[in-house]
């Protein structure tokens, strides 16, 4: 199927773009997402090099993490991301109240991620584990900390989105909603790689 036919086959996607190159959100936001993901790709490469250099330390350190918390955070972000997708779908259908309700639900469920992350950090510091403990935990705190910063920015963006959806202004509000959604999905996407990298794959001692 040609790309244009695919776009036509999904009529509620990318209305504002030109021809077959219609975008589901602002192109600047997509550029930012690509650049940010490039930065995280370098992080993943650094981690892999470190793990190859000293696998036993990485395995022993990974055994000190609680994968159930990582699992819960993954599920929270997936469900929250799905609610944002549903909000965008409602916005495209002109159901602004429905879109706003779904963004609020995404934010409420997504806040569970922050709660668990703070709990996890507090538990680690309480056990005397800090970024200086070893290289694994340096990367663990750096990567999850930077990801958490992205999450916090995403929360701010969703709060602004809720405010904008209170008095929607047609295409402009829809464009904001779509771009906010794309950013929130990036937070989800990065965690989908961070979770197996830090908690699961590579083995535990």
């Amino acid at each position: 199927m040609s790309e244009l036919a695919e776009v036509q086959g999904k009529p509620d996607v990318g209305k504002s773009g030109a021809g077959g190159s219609a975008l589901p959100c602002d192109s600047g936001v997509l550029f930012f997402i690509c650049a940010d993901m490039g930065m995280f790709a370098l992080f993943f490469l650094l981690f892999t090099i470190g793990q190859v250099s000293d696998p036993e330390t990485y395995r022993a350190s990974r055994a000190m993490l609680d994968p159930a918390i990582g699992l819960a955070n993954t599920l929270i972000l997936i469900v929250s991301g799905w609610l944002v997708v549903r909000a965008v779908e409602a916005g495209r259908a002109g159901d602004w109240a429905g879109a706003r309700l779904r963004v609020i639900m995404a934010l409420v469920i997504g806040s569970g991620f922050a709660f668990l992350k703070v709990y996890e950090y507090a538990h680690k510091f309480g056990a005397g584990i800090t970024p200086l403990t070893n290289e694994f935990f340096t990367y663990y705190f750096a990567f999850t900390g930077i990801h958490f910063l992205h999450f916090a920015i995403g929360v701010g963006v969703l709060l602004v989105t809720i405010s904008k959806l209170r008095k929607p202004q047609g295409e402009a509000t829809l464009a904001w909603l779509e771009s906010a959604g794309a950013y929130w999905h990036m937070v989800d996407l990065l965690w989908v790689v961070l979770f197996p990298l830090l908690y699961l794959a590579g083995g535990v001692a």
Partner: protein, 88 residues
């Protein structure tokens, strides 16, 4: 890779893949096969998010290809790293 799913179907598939990776870790956590399986599942989840959540399946080809390239390279590096560490 996933054809046309509803957003709810995509979410349920993502949840099942996540649970599958966790089960692989719980039962075979300290093996190369488990590690590779977990990363392959992560790749599938990344593709699902790009296509079904970000809606890039139906949109601008360059951005879509950049994100596919990113996920392929990242997962290749991560899986390649697993081959370079000793497994008992």
């Amino acid at each position: 890779m996933s054809g046309r799913l509803s957003s709810t179907g995509a979410m349920l598939l993502l949840v099942m893949l996540t649970l599958g990776a966790f089960v692989a870790f719980e039962f075979e956590g300290a093996s190369l096969v488990a590690g590779l399986s977990i990363f392959v599942i992560a790749l599938a989840k990344v593709q699902l998010i790009i296509e079904q959540f970000m809606h890039l399946r139906w949109s601008h080809r360059p951005f879509r290809q950049v994100l596919y390239f990113w996920s392929t390279i990242v997962l290749a590096v991560l899986c390649g790293g697993l081959f370079l560490i000793p497994w008992s």
